[in-house]
Amino acid sequence: MLFFILKRVAQSLIVMIAVALISFIVFRYVGDPVAGMLGQDASIEDSAALRDRLGLNEPVLAQFARFVGNTLHGNFGISYRLQEPVLPLILSRLPATLELAMLSVTIALVGGLVMGILTALRPRSPVSMTIMTLSLIGVSLPTFLIGIGLIQLFAVKLHWLPSFGRGEVVDLGWWTTGLLTSSGLKSLVLPALTLALFQLTLIMRLVRSEMLEVLRQDYIRFARARGLSERTINFRHALKNTLVPVITITGLQLGSIIAFAIITETVFQWPGVGSLFVQAVQFVDVPIMSAYMLFIALVFVVINLIVDALYYLVDPRLHAGSLKNAG
């Protein structure tokens, strides 16, 4: 187990270094950082001084080493546009994104699992047929269209829910939450649904096809022949085997929910990391862009690590030394 985890951590580190390199290249070579920081009116002496102060005249490798060192100390530079350090900026936006992502993932997972199992166990019932047909919409409609549609219906026509923003938030010092006020909760509903819908249908279809596959296996037939009850067979034997591949895909999806909340955040003007990134792109705010890239890479790497560990816990065939006592 330990060896397995260590190996995965080592692999993750390599990935992070590669991303850091790309991020560094973006930071250093997309546009001239000096021109970006001083504006076009700066004198040549001023820009030379800044160049010197920022160490831009040193060899590239030394610059990269310092970039990595700074990154490890949480120093991602200063936003060109806002003239503030990048890290606190991202951290202040993070709670909004994480709350949105977590709620979406919960909706997608619970809904996807329940409906996936239902449609697998009763493939011919009218309910399953309806769900399968509707799921086509979830898979095929682009996120922004779903978002706009939901706004049109629930905010504009019915006036049930707000169409943008986070509502009132409670500041807990290190975290701002919208979960404690009713306006915050209301604001969360539409964006969370929008973000979850695609993942939900994807997970549902995956669970359904995996479960149908598992139900055809010999060990399920043998479990029936052993006289086990349908409930034991479906929810103990079939479900656990279904989960093995589902965990992998779901993990990756979770990463992309956090990473690609951009569109949803834009549609709903959600004050999260995604909208910060979109603004940064508009103003060529390179430090934020490269920090965002590192952040997303970190999210994916950490989730992958967790998925691998989970996989290991669920599937005993991966356990070390298992071949030894084969008899």
């Binding site: 060896f3 060990y219 043998f222 029936r224 022949a225 052993r226 034997h237 005993p316 065939r317 008899g327």
Partner: protein, 541 residues
């Protein structure tokens, strides 16, 4: 009056399709008395597994019982509501499935699966069920049963898993056991042990057994009576010895005649002395690195020697049979000789020229060596027409031929393997297993090879089809002067086809020599053990 444990009366099972209804079982009737073992034999598609599935009422959708009755101790069990049928399974009818590798849930321990089954049927506490599980497993021949409860199925070998499956099937002391090909996926030596365990357990409990198998040898060894099935009907029923010695129906006679036996001495011409060897295998070794599982193994990876110092030669125009159980290294050997895998050391020579090693074979050498694979369903590209499959080796660099010319050559090849030339315009799925294997042979012949490596060429086929394919191979050898390397786990097939044989065990060639000599007077203890454990129809008293 006492009822038989199982009575099947005029059972009819249909598989409705969109266009037509396929009748899988057509008026099947037989009885099994308490403590009796009845063998149900037949070729694939005969309906023998379907009969078993109908009895335990697990017919795959859309199949259904149309008419007829199944009585368990005189009480009809057909047409019962689902819940009552489910209560019969495991409790009164046990099932032993064919493939022990797939019939246990890989994510649960043996103990969990044993205990849940026992507690489902018997009013026992968790710890009582545990004790019973240990007793059952020990009875099925698993040593240290208590320690093995926490093990997962993948930690057991095939034979051990089948013992677990048997223990599961008898957990609730059912009156009837349906054993569907219980040993077909196992090695010969393990097969004999499993049959022994099953027989002993059922005898002790007086359990009736329905033994479904395609293997007459298994029936000969175990059953009291035998039911012969063909195309959904019962052909003949009788005592095992009667059926094997004096089959009354022509179908049964054909079936029995097609079964090769290890006792049949080969009716081949003796090999002329002093024929130069075509292929020489010298000190062949192959190591595989096992995946590292700990940090220490990372630096000194454990090595598995799959083939160790194998040396033999094959005279031109003869057949060398290589036998051994699974994992003995015979297929690895074949792949090295075919040039598909470089040997770790040692070499393979063809007419004195080296054909193994990094550089591999030259184009011309490659043409002279061909291979026929085990699974005729997997070894032909399903999206290609037969013409293209057979003609592929004809497209060599210096063998450019026009389309007309090519089709003539393919037609000629198909005639050689006794098939109609029209077949070239069809796709593989339109052919049966035996026909596909003929196509595979035609493909192998298309480059006019001298040496053909046959890796289990008939083990996926029914006995009667197997006999035809073997006959074809023998006559092609005669016509074209081919040299064969025949790899098989089936000793009877090897005895029938080979001039010389080699016996492999754990990567080593433990015995080699003239086929009849090795079979009649085996020198190595392993060979003797192998020959003793064969379930063969010649052993019927």
């Amino acid at each position: 009056m006492t009822h038989p444990v199982l009575s099947v009366r005029n059972l009819v099972v249909d598989f409705p399709d969109r266009r037509q209804t396929f009748r899988a079982l057509d008026g099947v009737s037989f009885d099994i008395a308490a403590g009796e073992i009845v063998g149900v034999v037949g070729e694939s598609g005969a309906g023998k597994s379907m009969t078993g599935a109908a009895i335990i009422q697990l017919i795959q959708s859309p199949g259904r019982i149309v008419s007829g009755e199944i009585l368990l101790n005189g009480v009809p069990i057909t047409g019962l509501p689902q819940a009552e049928v489910a209560a019969l399974r495991g409790k009164r009818i046990g099932l032993i499935t064919q493939d022990p590798l797939t019939s246990l849930n890989p994510l649960f321990t043996i103990g969990q699966q044993m205990i849940e089954t026992i507690r489902r049927h018997l009013p026992l506490s968790e710890s009582q069920a545990r004790t019973r599980a240990i007793d059952l497993l020990s009875e099925a021949g698993i040593s240290d049963a208590e320690d093995r409860l926490g093990a997962y199925p993948h930690q057991f070998s095939g034979g051990m898993r089948q013992r677990v499956v048997i223990a599961l099937a008898i957990a609730a002391e059912p009156e009837l056991i349906v054993a569907d090909e219980p040993t077909s996926a196992l090695d010969v030596s393990v097969q004999a042990q499993i049959i022994g365990v099953l027989k002993a357990l059922c005898e002790r409990r007086g359990t009736a057994v329905m033994m479904i198998t395609h293997d007459m040898g298994v029936v000969a060894e175990t059953a009291d009576r035998v039911v012969v099935m063909n195309k959904g009907r019962i052909v003949e029923t009788g005592k095992v010895a009667d059926i094997i010695r004096r089959p009354s129906e022509s179908y049964t006679r054909g079936l029995i005649a097609a079964i090769p036996s290890v006792a049949d001495a080969r009716d081949r011409k003796p090999v002329a002395a002093g024929v130069a060897p075509l292929v020489e295998v010298q000190g062949l070794c192959r190591d595989f690195r096992l995946p590292a599982r700990t940090l220490r193994q990372r630096f000194a990876a454990p090595v598995l020697r799959a083939v160790a110092d194998v040396t033999f030669e094959i005279p031109r125009g003869t057949t060398f049979g290589l036998v051994g159980e699974s994992g003995s290294g015979k297929s690895t050997c074949a792949r090295m000789i075919a040039g598909l895998l470089p040997p770790s050391s040692g070499e393979v020579l063809m007419e004195g020229a080296r054909i193994s090693g990094r550089k591999g074979m030259s184009g011309d050498q490659r043409r002279r060596v061909q291979m026929i694979f085990q699974d005729p369903y997997a070894s032909l590209n399903p999206r290609w027409r037969i013409r293209d499959i057979v003609a592929e080796p004809l497209h060599g660099p210096n063998r450019r031929a026009g389309r007309r010319d090519l089709e003539e050559q393919v037609a000629e090849l198909l005639r050689k393997v006794r098939m109609e030339p029209d077949a070239m315009f069809k796709f593989p799925h339109q052919f049966s297993g035996g026909q596909r294997q003929r196509i595979a042979i035609a493909r192998a012949l298309s480059s006019e090879p001298e040496f053909i490596i046959c890796d289990e060429p008939t083990s996926a086929l029914d006995v009667s089809v197997q006999a035809q394919v073997l006959d074809l191979m023998a006559s092609l050898q005669e016509e074209l002067g081919l040299t064969y390397l025949l790899i098989s786990h089936d000793l009877a097939v090897v005895r029938r086809m080979s001039d010389f044989i080699g016996v492999m065990q754990r990567g080593r060639l433990v015995e080699k020599g003239d086929t009849d000599q090795v079979f009649d007077a085996p020198q190595d203890p392993y060979t003797r053990m192998l020959l003793d454990s064969i379930l063969d129809i010649s052993k019927v008293a």
